[in-house]
Amino acid sequence: MGLFRRLTNVLRPAHHSRDVRRELQFHLDERVDALVQGGMSSADARLTAQRQLGGLVRQSERTRDAGILEWLDSFAADLRYGLRAMANHRLASVVAIVSIGLGVGANTAIFSLINAVVLRPLPVAHPEELVEITFGERHASFTNPLWEEVRALPALAGSFAFAEADLDLATGGVARRRPTNFVSGGFFPVLGVRPLAGRLLQPADDVRGCASVAVVSEGFWRRELGGAASVVGTTIQLHKHPFEIVGVVPRSFPGIAVGHATDIYAPLCAEATIEDNPTFLDGRSTWFLTVMGRLKPGQDAETASRELSARAPAVFAATLPPDWPKREQDRYLKRTLSAVASPGGYSDIRAAYSTPLYILMAVVAIVLAIACANVAQLLMARAAARQREIAVRLAIGASRWRLFRQLLTEGMLLSLIGACFGVLFAQWAGKLLVRLLGASRGTVFLDTTIDWRLLGFITIVTIVNGIVFGLAPAWRASRISPQSALRSGSQGIIRGEPGQRAGKALVIGQIALALVLVTGAGLLLDSFRRLVAVDPGFRTDGLLVVRAELGATGVPDSLHPALEAQVLDRLRAIPGVQSVATSTIAPLSHMGWNGFVVTDGFTPRDEQDGISWFNAVSPGFFRTYQTPILTGRDFGATDTEKSPRVAIVNQAAVKHFFGGAPPIGKTFREGNGDTPGEPVEVVGVVANTRYQSVDEESEPIVYYPATQAGHFGDQMRISVRSRDALSITPAITAAIAEVHPAISLDFVTMQDQVAASIARPRLLAVLSGFFGGLALLLALIGLYGTIAYSVARRRNEIGIRLALGAHPSQVVGMILREAGTLAGIGLVLGTVLTLAGSRLLAAMLYGTTPTNPATLALSIGVVLAVALSAGAIPAVRAARLDPATALRTDG
């Protein structure tokens, strides 16, 4: 029947059913007349006719079956019934809803992050047209000369370049850094961002020797500039240079790099001003730009790539770094250009967190599956208890489809309520996760608001849940045979019943999945524990790293060494400061300086093999870090710019470059063979330390005295050892301000630096540990439920056993064996799954392997212990049964 007809039936239900009544009434009257004519009394005739017609009301119901109204009616009845059933089994329903809520919430929270970090395109018009320009790989940094060549190419509708920086708003003292983008003139026009106030940067703003103008974000404008339109035209200090604010970027465009909310945009040309280096933009080895573009209408990334790569030889020939070795230059000239579809822009947060987020997604999906299994079991047990009722309804003529639908409605109802709690939970959990992500990199800005993708995800999860745990009991109930169910009394059939089998299968699955998660969590926790326990080769507590910018002091470069010496002297004089030293590279800061080391008798296997890390340090550096000097001496006042060149090496360098022989007095040269440097004499050997981060191996490091390493820009990195790294900062600020008020300062304690470098493993360890525990708890509830249910059904049998003289311990053993068997099968299955799946974790592990037998064995032990304790409670309760009571009661 047509949908329209059904709908019109709904729209005139009262009218419709009145018509039906009238029509049947007529039929009844006609029949009565006929019977009376046949000689029956009118009262008898009426009764007979009514009997034959089967009751007016029921008739009209059946006739109305044709309408959708009946369907809605029975749906409402199902809903009412479902709610009543939930109210009747309050505890079980609460457990079910909380399980689903946690499961759905965790999934939604993780998915909202994946959505924000990976899936969601940039909030600009036609993000699908955006491409990133690379050298054929996923991401590439460009030099400014290279960008200027690419900008001139006609291959795209438009292109732009940008670089991220943290510019200081203060004019000295402790730095107030704000996330800044240097952007090319095409940035806003190509992206299609419109100003909230004033104007945005244009190509005319981005020319060599440009005026110092900037635009600010709406957030920054409201938060720090008062949010008045009059801000346009005023100046702010960026890195101690005045910039005129010309406009405000609306909140709807938070920035080009997902995860970072940019506060300030300055034209690319201003980078030279900020750097106080007019030739900065001409640096052919200064790789700092990301280049993106917009495709022409109808153009695809491949066409654009072809056009770009055709032009690549000319582009690279025009920008060849003249000072590179020949071999490197040849390689440079062979590079190619390509356009990679990049609707979401480039983000380092995406690069770092995509894999962990997908791992967590898999983890929470498994947690949800375990939770679903619990709810399915609950509904199945409830359906089993209602077997008699269902059988009666079938016997008096209910349709099986109708029953099926009712149980499915109950499942959906639970799923829906659970999902609502889940979404609330996810709102909170999502914010927490964003904060955890931010632990390593300042503030992380992520838009986790609900959009169609998230909504679709939640809807699908909810429907699938409802079907999964509504379907199993519904299917079973719809297959009940009324005769056998009614015959077998309230107990149902005790053994080999399909429902019990399905319940056991669910529990086995839960235990298997729980083992997968517990093992995964075990591996990640073990990795994290190893990372925390790593000895970086120095004492991290009490160590503060101060970054001091001398650029704005106006002191000429030639006088910087004197200024630096003055700063160090003042710091040493602060009470509580034990020692002070400078270094070009602060350890574990993820910064690096490397180069080739050439020694007699050492031939590198390949290019990489000949490379060592470098650092330039002041005397006292090793004392400050408490890294022991094993042989030889520290640098001293005698190591000056003019004295013979010397170096201290670490043990790894001794082993690698000197074959392990005592190196004191030996020399090496720096360079790659084309242009070897002057000989450098080794004067000391220090213990190994970690260079960039704690999760790398101890690699060769060569230390030069700061005096002999040349000029490294205007920044000093000062390491200060004191009793308490944090409380000393005000004294340091004051002391340096006395030397020169324009010196700006950033502080970070070494312990924070270490914590930041292991933030990602910590995030994974904490979350996988939490979800592993949750999975275990849910599996425990599932197993407990199954065993308790089975004990309840076997009360009579257990009573008989006890009455016939079975010892309670035998009963306990019997029940525990049942739990143990289920757990055993689950564990075997889980081990197979774990071994197959844990390989995915390999890249996230440190110091352990995905198949570490100790972790697996421990996890199996934990799950088994939990499983047995889940069985122990019902087992002990069974053993305490009073045989007389158990036998007397039927249920």
């Binding site: 029947m1 047509g2 007809r5 018509d19 039906v20 009238r22 029509e23 049947l24 007529f26 039929h27 009257d29 006609e30 029949r31 007349d33 034959q52 017609l53 089967g54 008739q59 059946r62 006739t63 079956d65 044709a66």
Partner: protein, 111 residues
């Protein structure tokens, strides 16, 4: 024990109703019942419980249309008339019924 069944074979009720309306013009439900019983010499009996849902379904499918009218006893009744679509449906059902019965007859005769 074999039992004589005079219930209407599933699926044939529609055919009987359509045929009745085609030959006897607009009729109300009770008259349709009466006609089928009479025309079949009381071999067939129409369940009222099936008749009205069937009639309403046919109405919604557009095979019959219904109007309120007054009977000779001055009672209000719903009169059903065959639509052109109903005529087509009748022809189809007649044909398939003929095919079915001739098939069944053959089986009974030769199998």
């Amino acid at each position: 024990m074999p039992r004589a069944r005079n219930d209407i074979l599933q699926g044939t009720l529609g055919l009987l109703v359509l045929q009745t309306l085609a030959t006897r013009g607009p009729l109300h439900g009770y008259a349709i019942t009466a006609h089928i019983i009479q025309a079949s010499a009381e071999l067939l009996r129409v369940e009222e419980g099936s008749l009205y849902p069937a009639l309403h379904r046919m109405e919604q499918d557009g095979w019959v249309k219904a109007e309120w009218g007054i009977t000779e006893k001055n009672r209000e009744a719903r009169f059903y008339t065959l639509t052109p679509q109903g005529h087509k449906q009748l022809a189809q059902e007649q044909e398939s019924w003929t095919r079915l019965t001739s098939g069944v007859r053959r089986v009974l005769r030769y199998a």
